[in-house]
Structure formats: structure tokens, C-alpha cells
């Protein structure tokens, strides 16, 4: 299933074809200079990330610890703040978003991939337009609607909004992946009396794990990294998610940076782990890739 690379995330693992310089020049010339330049650039770029991690594992200013490195910021925030609650709220909302998004987008992506009528390309254009709309335009009316039916200040309401905002890109990504699955497989199945739904679920879907993973990661990031929607919708501290929880540390006059950064690291870990483990399916270019591919 190497097709994963060409599809939604055409970007992620480009084939390592590193012949850029004309070959009469040895490609190795100056490589250590470039290496040094890359080290300097990376260090400068990553200063904010280093700062976050370092402050989290250094004793905070109020601490009596004399150790150079410590985990007490973490034990503190886990014991004295709602970080566990925020984490479980964030995880719950995010996982629900991922599941619903994939379940809704996969069949729609199939229609987008296999349908060849004007209506289908019209739907594709509609998805593109919707994707480009400011979230704020949808959020204000939805807030009013949800307030009247009890979904504002409710984690379920959050999931609904997130599913809406992942829908267009998720559908494209699934469609772009399905495009890579040969039609001949399905046609053979149809001849054998298989229904369209049967071929979709038994042939196409079963061979689309990489596409599904890319889409799931995309939905995960949308829900996990959101700030605007949660800021508008969630008011009660018992259903705070991590972004709101993190903000509570800034309301006192003196900010305990050790605690703030410990919570930041908790929030940073899930996407970092996904990035590390599922690097191959990590489709930052998913939107562009699927758009370019179709």
C-alpha cells in the first residue's frame, strides 16, 4: 500500500531523490557547512519548544528543590489543578470528533471519488467554498442556536461544531485516497453480484487504512488544536478542555511558569506522539495534496 504516499499526503515522504546540484559537482561538497547551517536554523526555530519543555522540567521559582531537573511541576499540576479533568475532556471530545468525522466523510468521499456527474463536481466546489469560510461566521449563529437547545456550554455541542469544520477537508482526503484504488476490483465484484455498498465497504474501505488514518489525524488536530470554538462555547469550569484550563493559570497576578509549561507539555504530547509514531500518515499537506491530486 505504498499508494499512501501519492495520495492525500503526497507531501510527507517524498522519495529521497536528492540530486539537485548538477552532477559534475560532487554532491558532498560543503555538506558539513550546510549541516552547520541547519543546526543553527533548527536551534533558533525551536527555541519556543525548548523553552516550554525546559521550564516544565526545571524547578519553579517558588520551589525549594535544588535539583537541576525535576518532575515536581507535573506532580503539582496533577495534584492541585484540574489538568486530569481537562485532559480527559479534551481526549473525549477529540476522539468523538475523529470517529464521527471519518464515519461521515468516508462514504461521502467514495461518492466524490466514483461519481462523475456535474453534481459531484458541484459538491466538490461547495466543499472548497465552505472550507474557506471563517469559523467565526458559523460560530456566532451556532452559539445562539445551541444556547436555545442546551448544547452551548456542552461538550457534545463542541463535537458537533468540530465535525462540521473537518467535513470538507476530510471528505477530500478520503476521496483522494479512494481515487488510488483501482475501479477494476469493484467492477469484478459487481459482476459477481455484489452491491455498490458491498463493494464500497468490503473492497474500497478495507483497502483504505492509510487514507483513513490520514483523515483521522487531520480531524484529531482540528479538534485538539482548536481555541476559538471552545472559547465561545464552553463557560463552566467542570467541562474545560486543555486550552481553557491552560488559560486559568494566567488569571493570577504572578504566573507560575513551571505549572503553565507542565500543562503545555501535557497538551503537546498527544500530537507529538502521533507525529512521531504515524509520521508516514501525517498529512500536513493533506489539504493541498488532495486538492492537487483531484
Amino acid at each position: 500500500m505504498t499508494t499512501a504516499e501519492q495520495v492525500a499526503q503526497a507531501t510527507v515522504t517524498p522519495k529521497p531523490k536528492l540530486r539537485t546540484t548538477p552532477s559534475r559537482e560532487p554532491g558532498t561538497r560543503g555538506q558539513w557547512w550546510r549541516f552547520a547551517a541547519m543546526v543553527v536554523i533548527s536551534v533558533i526555530v525551536l527555541v519556543p519548544v525548548f523553552a516550554t519543555v525546559l521550564l516544565a522540567i526545571r524547578p519553579s521559582t517558588t520551589s525549594t528543590s535544588t535539583n537541576l531537573l525535576t518532575l515536581e511541576n507535573f506532580t503539582n499540576v496533577f495534584a492541585n489543578s484540574g489538568v486530569l479533568l481537562w485532559l480527559s475532556n479534551s481526549l473525549g471530545v477529540t476522539l468523538a470528533t475523529v470517529i464521527v468525522s471519518v464515519v461521515v466523510a468516508a462514504p461521502a468521499g467514495y461518492v466524490l471519488s466514483r461519481g462523475r456527474s456535474k453534481a459531484v463536481s458541484g459538491y466538490s466546489l461547495l466543499l472548497f467554498v465552505i472550507q474557506s469560510l471563517p469559523v467565526i461566521t458559523a460560530v456566532i449563529p451556532l452559539f445562539v442556536l445551541f444556547a436555545t437547545i442546551g448544547l452551548a456550554d456542552n461538550l457534545l455541542g463542541l463535537v458537533i461544531v468540530y465535525v462540521g469544520s473537518t467535513m470538507s477537508v476530510a471528505t477530500w482526503m478520503m476521496a483522494a485516497y479512494f481515487d488510488s484504488i483501482p475501479h477494476a476490483l469493484e467492477e469484478a465484484a459487481w459482476v459477481d453480484g455484489c452491491s455498490v455498498f458491498g463493494s464500497f465497504s468490503k473492497i474500497v474501505l478495507r483497502n483504505s487504512l492509510p487514507g483513513i488514518l490520514s483523515t483521522a489525524i487531520f480531524a484529531f488536530l482540528v479538534a485538539w488544536n482548536d481555541y476559538l470554538v471552545v472559547l465561545v462555547f464552553i463557560k463552566s469550569s467542570n467541562i474545560f478542555t486543555l486550552p481553557l484550563g491552560l488559560q486559568t493559570f494566567f488569571q493570577q497576578n504572578v504566573t507560575d511558569w513551571g505549572a503553565v509549561m507542565a500543562v503545555s507539555v501535557v497538551m503537546l504530547l498527544p500530537p507529538a506522539i502521533i507525529f512521531a509514531v504515524l509520521n508516514k500518515y501525517f498529512s500536513v499537506g493533506g489539504i493541498g495534496g488532495s486538492l492537487a491530486g483531484r
Binding site: 461519481g115 456566532i140 452491491s195 491552560l246 499537506g285
Partner: protein, 315 residues
Amino acid sequence: MSSIAPAEHTATHGGAGPAPVPAGSRRGLSRGALTMIILVAPSVIVLLLINAYPLVIAALQSVRNGILIVTGEFVGLANYVDVLTSPRFWKAALFTLIFTIVGVFGSWLVGMGLALLLRTKIPGNTLFKVLLMLPWVVPIVVSATAWNWLVATPTSPIPALAAKLGFGELYFLADPTLAAITVCIFKVWVSFPFMMLMTSAALASVDGTVYEAAGIDGATRWQQFTQITLPMISRSTYISWILMTIFCVNDFPTIYLLTGGGPVDATTSLVVLAYRTVFQDLQTGPGVAIAFMMTLVLVVVSTVLYRQIRKVDIA
């Protein structure tokens, strides 16, 4: 509303796919079409309820003087007139423009530069690629917190460093001009990995032998870059500009988390202005009017651009 029609339409023609169900079987065809409608239905429902419905409501809210859940009275286009005659709106529009231009081209230049550099032979190439993705992977709430720690007060590390280097006391987030510059740099920092990946992917598809030929013909490196590389990745470049423009215009957290739109509105973009008008000044009508005007502009722009993407051909 309009999206119901395409779905039904799907049924009549394209429903059954390119070379679909065995020819002659009319029943099979219509059954296939029905299946296609059922498959696409959940997505259409989501789009209608969560994306289309709010647009209609937003249009209605923008011609009323309500406060959040209070509907208010019909005031015609008064909200639009208010907004369009307020200097705050034009200031925010100008900042949005600057923020978008710097965001798109800043991140493109940095991202493309790094993609070109990483394309050459460098020890630890892959590791650098992974590390440089981090600004995009880190949740914006976390990176904004880190940037705050780095620049917020005169005693923060970067102002302290600047003071030592003789720049005097710098208020990165309290001085209007510096705050605007800081927010733009933050946006470039967040976004360049996206551009880097898009460019890397495009570069990977360019055949290396082209350069050999060009080199033999005596083309300089710069000529090779402007006359071979850039044209060959133009489609991908174009798409990444479009997407980044949309990301920048619609961006809220990058700005709001770092400066809250201040000082004195210096970093208030249109989205931030809409948010503050609705949820802080409690003027739903004008706030929605701002958002709705942005929406109209983006619908027109993105429809045109979508057509363009389809037309631009890769060499």
C-alpha cells in the same frame, strides 16, 4: 439549501460511477444511485446543519440589532453602514491585509528556502525535516504561551537579550508597531513548515536530469532556479498560496492568544474584531455583519480560485 440539489442530481447521472454496474441492468443502476445518495447523505446533512444553516442565520442576524440570543429588531442595512463607516473596521481590514501578505509570502520564502536546502545532501537530513515540522505540530495554545514567555515583558528573555545588545527597552507586545511585527513573525513561524512540506513534495517530482542538461547548456544556478524549478512547481506553489491566504484571513488564535488584538487595536484583524464586537461589546448585529462581509468576499475569491486551480496545468 443549494447543496440538496447536487446530491439528488448525483442520483440521476453519476451515481453509479465511471464504468459502473453491469450494462443493461436498469435496476442495478438505480439501486447503485440510491446507495450513492445514502452514502453522501450524512455529509450533506452535516454541511446543511453546521455550515449552511448558520450562514443563513448570520445573514438574518446582520440586519437586526440583537444581543446574542436576543433576536432584536430589523434595522435594515444600518449595521453594515455602521461597520463600513467606522475607522476601527478599516484599521482591522488593513491589518488583516498586512498580516495575510506577510504570513503567505514570509512563510513561503522561509519554507521554500528550507525545502531547497534540505533537498541537498546534508547529514541528518530526515531528522531536520522532522524537527522543523514542530512549529506546525505544536498546538497554537502551547506555542503562543511559549512566545508570551519569551517576549511579553521587558524582563522576558528576548527583550532582555535585546537590551544587552544595546537596543534599549523593547516592549514587543505593548508597542503598537512592534506588536504587529511580532504577531506577523509568530504567524510565519507557525506556518512555514506547511510551505516547506508543500514545496518539498513538489520538488520531489522534478526530475534531476533537467538540471544536468541545463548545467551543460551553461545555465547559472539562479537561472536554473527561476527558469526551471519555479515554473515546474508553480501549480503546487499556487495552491499553497491560496490555502495559506485562507488560513491567514481566518486566523484567530495566533493573534488573539498573543496580543488579544491590542495594544490599541494595533493587531486587531477582522476576525478578532468580529469576535470582540459580538462577545465583548455585545453588538451581535455589527459583529456578524463584519463576519458576513468577510464570508462573501471569501466565497467569491475561493470560487474563482477553485476554477483557476483546475485550469493551471503542471508543466
